[in-house]
Amino acid sequence: MSREALQESLSAVMDNEADQLELRRVLNAIDDTETRATWSRYQVARAAMHKELLLPNLDIASAVSAALEEEAAPAKAKAGPWRSLGRLAVAASVTVAVLAGVRLYNQDEISGAELAVQQPVQQGLSMPQTQGPAVLAGYTESSEPTTGPMANGVLQNQAGWDQRLPGYLRQHAQESALKGTETALPYARAASLENR
């Protein structure tokens, strides 16, 4: 089978336009690492076109087949009630593999270099964003998070902000010192604000 024919079939499967023959061809070839690599490249390209966020290296398929291979042997050896138990184990490990893949997907950070697409900003409200020594950014609803130090402990001049913030910070530090137990720490924080 020629490389081109396989790639065409892959493309067709991906676009949900494959016929029975093409699907069979792809399924036969999917164990091949090169084919899988091509498949994942296609996925990247497709996602790039559709501006979707994705993880190119996520290969759930291989994790699933690895789990299947490991579990298949004992399931075959034993008959009777053990067989169903074996199946259950297979199902469980497939679930684990998929979950592991999803976990990987969620944890991994995709840098802009990996995908030449503008990523949708995924910064939810609950995500901490301490990226630089001091991050200061005019807040707008949809802007990308500002990376890197824009102001190293020095606050930019912004109307209304500059005059109030030192007072707020100091009041917070002083009241913290009173309420808290670690008496020296809030003082030190307050003092370090004055050293600008």
Binding site: Q129, A134, G138, N152, G160, Y168, R170, T181, L185
Partner: protein, 321 residues
Amino acid sequence: MRALPLLPLLLSSCMTVPALAANSSPQATDWLNKLAQAEQGQSYQGSFVYERNGSFSSHDIWHRVQGGKVHERLLQLDGVAQEVVRVDGKVQCVSRSLVSGVGAPPDSAPRVLDPLKLMSWYDLKIAGEARVADRNAVIVTLTPRDQHRYAFELHLDKQTGLPLRSLMLNAKGQLLERFQMTRLDTQDLPTDADLKASAACKPVQRSPVGAADAVVGWRSDWLPPGFELVGSSIRRDPERKSAVSSLMYDDGLARFSVFLEPVKDNAGTDTRAQLGPTVAVSRHFTTPKGKVMVTVVGEIPLGTAERVALSMRAQDVQARQ
């Protein structure tokens, strides 16, 4: 007999505590108890350094517990001489009268570190031993159980339980601030001369803060779990002639304040800033009474602070609806 209705509450709290404690070690709890006692009952003097991103400073500290009174003096040794003198937690004087109106903290008893409370929001563990300021220390880690607070690593003096080193880390494990003793003397009691404020230390002006001036008209729709209101005040700013309401929240270790101040319509944009461990987020809201700037300042992650700022609601508006 009056305590009888409280009995079920007491029993249930006894039963829930072991479940929460599953992830925390009893030794760590013991050490935190020791720390809480040391803060209230141990005299000491020494030096420490404080470091956060973009700032490094060294300080001297004198702390004397005598006759039930806690005297404390802190002095910055480099740069501008920052000085604070406190008696029983109340600020007596501050060098460089910093900003108008600040420094009249409401009189209330300092909160005591409560490991049982902390256990609900942090996993307390012993992480080994260390040597700081030529003293043996035990390392206690406080790992947050959610993303709304930072992790702490405390190195406590084995002999007294005093903190020798305190590190604050964010979710990525980056160090946000470091407090570290370089010299600690628990033998010699600080003298009166040690504790005497210098001439540069100006007595704190008690700006009119009415105890009855409770902050009303604002409530929070959402708070990170475990944070409770521990204080509120209204401060009149003589320069801007505006009343600044402040609310302070505490989870037993981390704290943040919410400031509410009426502003003119053209005043500033929504802003956020991170200064080492302290984050500041401000947002402008339009209420029937005019524009209000809500600012959250505290040692919590930026995302959490932003969510708190967004969750503040003017109560009178709510009542009308």
